[in-house]
């Protein structure tokens, strides 16, 4: 008995020490980690929209978040979009409730500042005030709309889909006509050397420039990636004079409607990404269409 108590005690102490060590590190690093993550996402989004060193982003480039919530009111279910709106010179948020058929239900002002809106916790507190029980709301996802000079440049959609092991987190960028601008894999745990190749340019860039029509039927094919196409896809490895303008146009035309070439020996990961991207893009295109028509009808001046 004494022995057991001793062991329990020793183990508890060890756990407490370990937990304290981990907790301390977490508190010490949380802020920097978050900042890094934020910068990472920001840079990825800028890159996805096609801006870079030789093509600097416009100074008034803005990323506006639209948060989607599922709101339940007793038996009824609504989609709630928390939309940034223009109110004079200031930015504010409004919650637009839409029923499942896409009809406008109601519009609520959300008392929250633009900075705080990025924090899930702060958002929830603010929403509590306007969506009081019995209404229940749950967070679904967020989409980013990039604007510059009062025009929409494109959409960046954070996607999360099951891969070979766990969820793959990715950013999918589309232009206002829903043509794919690019894909960035943010986080994943695919096998190194096999599924990890989804990070590579030669895979990711295959999605670039696929039209919405093509996207709907996009598939994975188990054929070797043509050498020329691979070189073209690996933009960061381009050397001067490797491709002429005509050459690029030719390749682009040739592979515009091509399906996605699977990564050798990683068909499952390739398929997971392709299906995931397809899903994210298709759903978003449908939702933003509905949302836009409602915003127009109700004359809500969204910031995008």
């Amino acid at each position: 008995m004494k022995e057991i108590i001793k062991i329990t005690f020793a183990l508890t102490i060890s756990c407490v020490i370990a937990a304290a060590a981990m907790g301390l590190t977490y508190t010490a690093t949380a802020k920097a980690k978050k900042h890094n993550h934020h910068m990472n996402v920001q840079n990825a989004m800028i890159g996805l929209l096609g801006f870079g060193e030789d093509n600097p982003a416009p100074s008034d480039l803005k990323f506006l978040n639209v948060y989607r919530y599922i709101v339940e009111d007793g038996e009824k279910k609504f989609l709630g979009y928390m939309v940034p709106v223009e109110k004079g010179s200031e930015e504010a948020y409004e919650m637009v409730l839409i029923d499942l058929e896409g009809n406008f239900v109601e519009k609520l002002e959300v008392p929250i500042s633009a900075e705080k809106a990025e924090e899930a916790h702060d958002r929830a507190t603010a929403l509590q005030k306007v969506l009081a029980p019995p209404k229940i709301f749950t967070y679904a996802d967020a989409s980013v709309i990039a604007t510059a000079g009062g025009k929409r440049l494109g959409y960046v959609l954070p996607g999360q889909f099951p891969g070979f092991r766990t969820f793959i987190h990715a950013l999918v960028a589309m232009d206002p006509k829903f043509e794919l601008l690019g894909l960035e894999i943010m986080e994943h745990e695919e096998d190194a050397g096999l599924g990890k190749e989804i990070e590579q340019e030669y895979f990711r860039n295959q999605f670039k420039g696929k039209t919405y029509e093509k996207l709907k039927t996009l598939q994975v094919i188990k054929k070797p990636l043509p050498m020329e196409y691979k070189k073209y896809l690996e933009k960061s490895k381009w050397e001067d004079g490797m491709f002429t303008e005509e050459h690029i146009a030719e390749i682009r035309k040739q592979y515009k409607d091509a399906d996605i070439y699977a990564i050798t020996a990683s068909t499952i990961s390739s398929k997971a990404v392709t299906d995931g991207v397809k899903n994210v893009a298709k759903k978003f295109a449908y939702r933003i269409g509905k949302l836009d028509s409602v915003l127009k009808k109700e004359k809500i001046h969204a910031a995008f």
Binding site: K223, P224, T264, A265, T267
Partner: protein, 356 residues
């Protein structure tokens, strides 16, 4: 029944060679005229007709592939045995020749000529010599060679099929780039496009059965003619080198499971097509009956065969590859020792001490 009869005859035959005086020795007590190498060379002889036929179906290069494969297997065995200071004479027992032939038979006829060399090295050196030589390998060497090639050159190994030649122009494919003429195997079409497309490409069902049975269809060398392979296999059974249990159980179980699961609804599959296409026949008669890597007892053999059939159908219907015989046999191979242990033959004598 057949098993006991077979034993009886061998005992009788062998009994003639018995010396007049009783003596104590370790088993085998009766020496038959059959030796390992004689059996092996008979198997080689039974494997030659499909090769000859394949020259007329896919052209002359099948002969080259087979030759390269056999030579590389035999050379690998000789060189590796010499390096390991083992007797080099083992190449004369013919087992390396069989491995080479089988390897050539189960790869597409349109692969580059150097490819069987790699497969041969893998089959003989890694699968057999490293494990201790003939009798010690756990897996069928030829199948490991093929699996290695499929993993290494997935494109060539899954697309270098050739459409059969019908006008006896055997040198047709010799110089031509394989890409220009490659076609799809019936199993590939069946898997990806369904039975309707197979009928469209290869003619009505009766034409398909006839062509598949006599050998005019795209596939590997061993997939040419079911007829020739069955004759070879039956001869081996007649000579009692193999028993009928494994082949019959493989074929029956492929047919059975395809019949149940192969169609769109249960019990609507086409068992005859499933058995005639792919490597079922050569697998059943020449690979699943390999002495070293398959069970020795009747019950074990039946279970072994049924397992191969079930796995084949599973891979064909649900797996990533259109054909599954190779992997099915490889998966069942390591089960052999267990099957042998679980289904030991009954002892005739109640106590072994008294018999001695």
């Amino acid at each position: 029944m057949t098993g006991t009869q077979a034993e009886a005859t061998t005992v009788e035959e062998a009994g003639k060679a018995l010396p007049p005086k009783l003596f104590v020795s370790i088993s085998p007590h009766f020496k038959a005229t059959e030796t390992v190498s004689k059996i092996m060379w008979t198997v080689v002889a039974c494997l030659i007709p499909p090769l000859v036929l394949s020259v007329f179906v896919f052209g002359f290069q099948t002969l080259i592939i087979a030759l390269v494969s056999v030579v590389s297997c035999v050379a690998t065995e000789a060189i590796s045995n010499r390096c390991l200071k083992r007797p080099v004479g083992t190449i004369k027992d013919g087992s390396a020749v069989i491995t080479g032939l089988l390897l050539a038979y189960i790869i597409p006829p349109g692969v580059p000529y150097w490819m069987p060399i790699l497969g041969g090295v893998m089959a003989i050196y890694v699968t057999k010599v490293l494990m201790g030589g003939i009798g010690y390998n756990m897996f069928n060497p030829a199948l490991i060679g093929r699996a290695f090639l499929v993993a290494t050159y997935p494109v060539a190994m899954t697309s270098a099929w050739l459409p059969p030649i019908r006008d006896a122009a055997v040198f047709k494919y010799m110089g031509a780039g394989v890409d220009a003429v490659s076609t799809a195997t019936p199993l590939y079409i069946l898997k990806h496009y369904g039975i309707a497309e197979v009928i469209e490409r290869f003619g009505s069902l009766s034409v398909i059965y006839r062509d598949f049975f006599f050998g005019w269809r795209p596939g590997c060398i061993a997939e040419t003619s079911a007829l020739v392979l069955i004759i070879g296999g039956l001869y081996l059974i007649y000579k009692k080198y193999i028993t009928w249990h494994t082949p019959v159980s493989v074929i029956a179980s492929v047919a059975f499971f395809t019949w149940i699961f192969g169609g769109e609804k249960f019990f609507t599959g086409n068992p005859l097509l499933a058995v005639l296409s792919g490597g079922v026949i050569i697998g059943a008669f020449f690979m699943a009956t390999d002495y070293v890597t398959s069970p020795t007892q009747v019950t074990g053999k039946l279970i072994f065969g049924a397992g191969i059939g079930a796995l084949t159908v599973l891979i064909r219907l649900k797996g990533g590859y259109p054909e599954g015989v190779c992997y099915a046999i490889l998966l069942m191979n390591p089960l052999t020792p267990a099957l042998d242990r679980w289904f030991k033959p009954k002892r005739f004598a109640p106590q072994p001490e008294e018999g001695a």
